[in-house]
């Protein structure tokens, strides 16, 4: 009846090994020869200038076709990744004909599993969407739509979760609260979270990576101490934020 906190069996979340990832269009090379391992059961936050290729990288991991993209992806445990991933894309992609609750349980329906309505309700309520449970997407605000997509992703209950700016349309207060809810729900899973909010990255990430085109591909930022979600009031948080901003400043907008 509650939002699942961590996968049923912790430790089952595989590491993900990406090698030789590249994004090229004709002469333009966004990145190439990128190798990256996402630690199993950990949250990795990815930042980088708009248009550099963060979404494309998520697609690569999810096994989705995307123009210009190449590279190989495998799970650390050797088993296939397909079926173990939940993905929250940058746009909400809600089904316009389905009520919020049905949108949340889409995955179960598509897999032929019995939809667990009480679980879906619990997730929606925890995301502040309780009163909107029977509304169709057209009656939702932008932030509500984004939360609906988040609810759908959490409902999936997969060991690997890819999220593309999951809180960008939320006000500061709601965002702060949902970061906590999400961090708790995803603890112990392998998470790759793309975000534009440096503080968010430092609050939620076991690792924080910056994708930049100019100074080589990926740069890792040292994260502050403390349990996730981290307290922003800690002394080393501000320092880490400063380092991160500096690292981001090196890149500049792409495209």
């Amino acid at each position: 009846m509650t939002v699942p906190d961590g996968p049923a069996a912790a430790g089952r979340s595989p590491a993900i090994v990406i090698s030789g990832a590249a994004l090229r269009f004709g002469d333009t090379c966004h990145f190439a020869g990128l190798d990256l391992t996402l630690d199993g059961g950990r949250t990795t936050c990815l930042l980088g200038p708009s248009g550099i290729g963060k979404t494309s990288l998520l697609k690569l991991i999810a096994g989705l076709p995307a123009a210009g993209l190449s590279g190989t992806v495998s799970a650390g445990d050797g088993a296939p990744l397909a079926g173990r991933i939940a993905m929250m894309a940058q746009r909400d992609h809600l089904l316009p004909w389905a009520r919020l609750i049905d949108n949340t349980m889409l995955g179960a329906r598509l897999r032929g599993e019995a939809p667990d309505e009480s679980r879906a309700r619990a997730i929606l309520t925890r995301l502040g969407l309780g009163p909107a449970i029977d509304l169709r997407p057209e009656a939702l605000s932008g932030g509500m739509r984004q939360r609906a997509a988040l609810a759908r992703t959490l409902y999936e209950d997969r060991p690997v979760v890819l999220m593309d700016e999951p809180f960008s349309a939320l006000d500061a207060v709601t965002r702060h609260r949902l970061q906590e809810v999400t961090a708790r729900a995803l603890a112990g899973r392998t998470v790759l979270l793309v975000t534009h909010d440096p503080a968010e990255a430092l609050r939620l990430g076991d690792r924080v990576l910056v994708l930049n085109s100019r100074p080589g591909a990926l740069r890792e930022i040292e994260v502050p101490g403390g349990a996730i979600p981290r307290d922003q009031a800690r002394g080393d948080f501000a320092a880490a934020l400063g380092r991160l901003f500096e690292s981001l400043g090196d890149g500049g907008a792409q495209g």
Binding site: G83, M87, L95, L110
Partner: protein, 262 residues
Amino acid sequence: MGRLAAALGAGIAILLLWQGAVTLFAPPPFILPGPAAVARRLWLDRALLLDHGLITLAEIGLGLVIGTLIGIGAAIAISASRPLRRILLPLVIASQAVPVFAIAPLLVLWLGYGMASKIAMAAIVIFFPVTIALADGIARLEPGLVDLARVMTGGGSPRGRRWRLLRHLYGPAALPALGSGLRIAAAVAPIGAVIGEWVGSAGGLGWLMLQANARAKIDLMFAALALLAVIALLLYRLVDGALRRATPWANSTDILKESEPT
């Protein structure tokens, strides 16, 4: 009732146009009778027209249901599997190039002179727009949703997977497109039934028209035709209304119309 007023207005508009054509071009009455003569005939032969109208109505109803089902089935088959598509699509397209008289004897041989052969012929006319519109709608699913479904169903058992995708994703998404196909089908269903009656019949508006035409009872032919047109209009309205209610999320306001002084 604005809807009633609109329907009345449309009826009056058609009558005026018709009378206008008769007055202006003055075609001989045995080629195009005026509305008054046809109205008189509609009244005088109302029992006859009703009898045959009901036969045709039954054929239209059954033809529409069966044609729509076949259309949906064909669209699903075409969308679901590439080999099936390779075989089915050409067959479906070729079926539209077949004139009645070429396959009428065949239909009668297989289905007899009863309702079946007429409904088969009507279904051939009706299913096609449904198939193409629905298949197009399915193929036009937003790429973002395609990706979503792919991640959600990846690695799972493929048993029934396509069916579930269709039921919960592609199907509803294609409903508005299916709507266009159904609207077209609703409008051609009456002529579909009439064509079915050419296969061989002992009643129905198409039969009555053939009969009236052969006896140069042009006003009766046009009375039957008027009835057929009314059936087509009502059917279209019905289907249109049902579709609007079935796809509330797809009814946008139209700026071109909104800007009208209403």
